[in-house]
């Protein structure tokens, strides 16, 4: 029983991180129908920028809280600039191109970002300086840390902010309109370019926060960390129904839970035949099963016809 509770806690934390990254995918996809494959790399850059800033400030004797806040802000600013640039350079010129063309440029961007990161930060794993004091709590035999609480809290606040932005502000209304029908939205005076740029910028900011979360949670960062994280987050977005904000959040949390529970119980379920290194399989098998019965994800609407 305590294992169950423990794995649910771990799954929720991991799921919160997935959800934050998945939102970046889903916002861009919902508005322009594009898989931004470079988003995982944006998250990675965010983490590494935060490490550099925080480490420098801590060395200069700045208090931890302030250094952490500066780190998050710096990461967010860097990622927002990066997201904006990516859209401008790699995706905007290709808006009328065949559907797979921007996918390849996205992959190109991903390769470029990874290698730039490697040149700047090197090949080695970097340790992420602790931002908050790690205290351990216990509930019914399961333990969790203040870091985990913080991650879930920050994720909840960010997602609440995003929902407010999308459903209660003028920019959000423009975004929803563009997602529904770009041509008509344009006729109503919505500047599609601005909307798309802001989707990239907001998604990247969420990614930056997620990057700092990953850093504080695992206390380690690496130039290749973005790839798998991005892949999982993208899976989460599809699981929930890509293009749907609530779907991305639910999909992220669900994927985190599935992975944690899968890793915890797969040995028992298969009589020890399959071990916990099959946890990735769990995520993908569940994804395939869900899509077999709900071809556009859990909360998704019917998508277009073209491949």
């Amino acid at each position: 029983m305590d294992i169950l509770l423990q794995q649910i806690i771990n799954g929720l934390v991991q799921g919160a991180i997935y959800a934050m990254v998945a939102l970046g995918y889903t916002m861009v996809y919902g508005i322009m129908g594009l898989i931004n494959f470079a988003h995982g790399e944006v998250v990675m850059i965010g983490t590494l920028v935060a490490i550099t800033v925080v480490t420098l400030l801590l060395k200069a004797g700045v208090p931890v809280m302030l250094a952490g806040a500066c780190g998050i802000v710096a990461a967010a600013v860097a990622c927002m600039a990066l997201g904006w640039t990516l859209e401008r350079v790699a995706y905007r010129p290709l808006r009328n191109a065949p559907r797979l063309t921007p996918l390849i440029t996205a992959i190109g961007c991903s390769i470029v970002l990874q290698n730039v990161a490697m040149m700047v930060w090197g090949r080695n794993y970097m340790t992420f300086p602790p931002l908050i004091e790690k205290t351990q709590f216990e509930i019914a035999g399961a333990s969790f840390t203040s870091v985990q609480v913080m991650i879930v809290l920050v994720a909840a606040i960010s997602m609440g902010g995003l929902l407010f932005l999308v459903y209660r502000t003028k920019l959000g209304m423009a975004m929803r309109a563009t997602a529904q029908n770009p041509a008509v939205a344009g006729l109503m005076g919505v500047n599609a370019n601005r909307v798309i740029s802001s989707a990239f910028v907001i998604g990247s900011a969420l990614g930056a926060v997620a990057g700092v979360m990953v850093g504080t949670y695992y206390e380690i960062a690496h130039y290749q960390m973005g790839f798998m994280l991005g892949l999982k987050a993208f899976t989460a977005a599809v699981l929930g129904g890509i293009g749907n904000l609530a779907g991305a959040m639910a999909g992220g949390v669900l994927l985190g839970l599935i992975e944690a529970l899968g890793a915890g119980y797969i040995g028992d379920l298969t009589g020890g035949f399959l071990g916990s290194h099959y946890q990735d399989i769990f995520a993908f098998v569940v994804l395939i099963l869900v899509l077999m019965f709900r071809p556009s994800g859990l909360f998704g609407e019917k998508t277009g016809d073209r491949a």
Binding site: P98, R99, L100, I111, N115, M118, I242, R306, A307
Partner: protein, 353 residues
Amino acid sequence: MSKWLNPRSGLGLTLIVVALVALPFVAGMGGQAWVRILNFAILYAFLALGLNIVVGFAGLLDLGYIAFYAVGAYLWALLASPHFGLHLPFWVILPLGALVAGIAGALLGAPTLKLRGDYLAIVTLGFGEIVRIFMNNLNAPVNITNGAQGITMIDPVSVAGLKFSATTTLFGITITGPQKYYYLLVLLALGVILVNFRLQHSRIGRAWQAIREDEIAAKAIGINTRNVKLLAFAMGASFGGIAGGIFAAMQGFVSPESFSLIESIMILAMVVLGGMGHIPGVILGAVLLTVLPEALRYAVVPVQKALFGEVLADPESLRMLIFGLALILVMRFKPAGLWPSPERRRELSEKTQ
């Protein structure tokens, strides 16, 4: 059919044949490494043409194509290596590899028939990862794939006692192992090119095209979309299986590392960069994307030394950086690929007008 393959232009055909025969010897002068690069270019062209059936002809975005390559490679490795003590000849394994990969392709296709576009992409991606994870972990409790260490000492292709791994002298001409594989690969590649050309304008090829353009309309005119889509998956997959078998034999070693997602993505990049659905374009894309990173490997250090007098940036990451930039730039200025089919070019210029 494009003009240069026209049998009436006998001179052009002769030139191509002479060039194809002479190429490994020319490349061999720069060292056998170049012949190996050449072999990989052909192998990737083979793979890209297989994927082209699925993505280019039928319009099904497949991001797990490498799984079938892996199936073919592991099948060869298991049936022709000391791992199980089996040493079957290649004319048994290759067709078997095509068959098994084809079945795997149909198995992947079956649950994904209802999915469209990007949902299909992520499921195929998941399938590819599942296959890789199994290959990585199927060493316990029964050792099937030998896990992350992979399988070594795989038998090379051998025909009538002639081993493809060793150097032999025939009629006074010395032919190295890689050069022999080159000719085998060229033969196989010509086969797959022929199949592609014949398929493209066949009844099935037209059905694929119809599905690609509008699945509902295709269904309405009486195309059995389910069977035709499954056929595309199975066919593309069986080419992947054959290529995988040759890869295992050529390398003598397979491990799950060779079959990661990035490989699937690279093959897709070859198809799209060259010109999706256009056979010469796909071949061009495959050759360019295989040769470019290798050529850069030789170029980045000397060029840096010449420009700055020292090696400033890590050559490996600089090489990949340039490669990524090249992908972006080509797609930016040639959105339909480097060598798109004439119809596609026309469609695109209509759209932008």
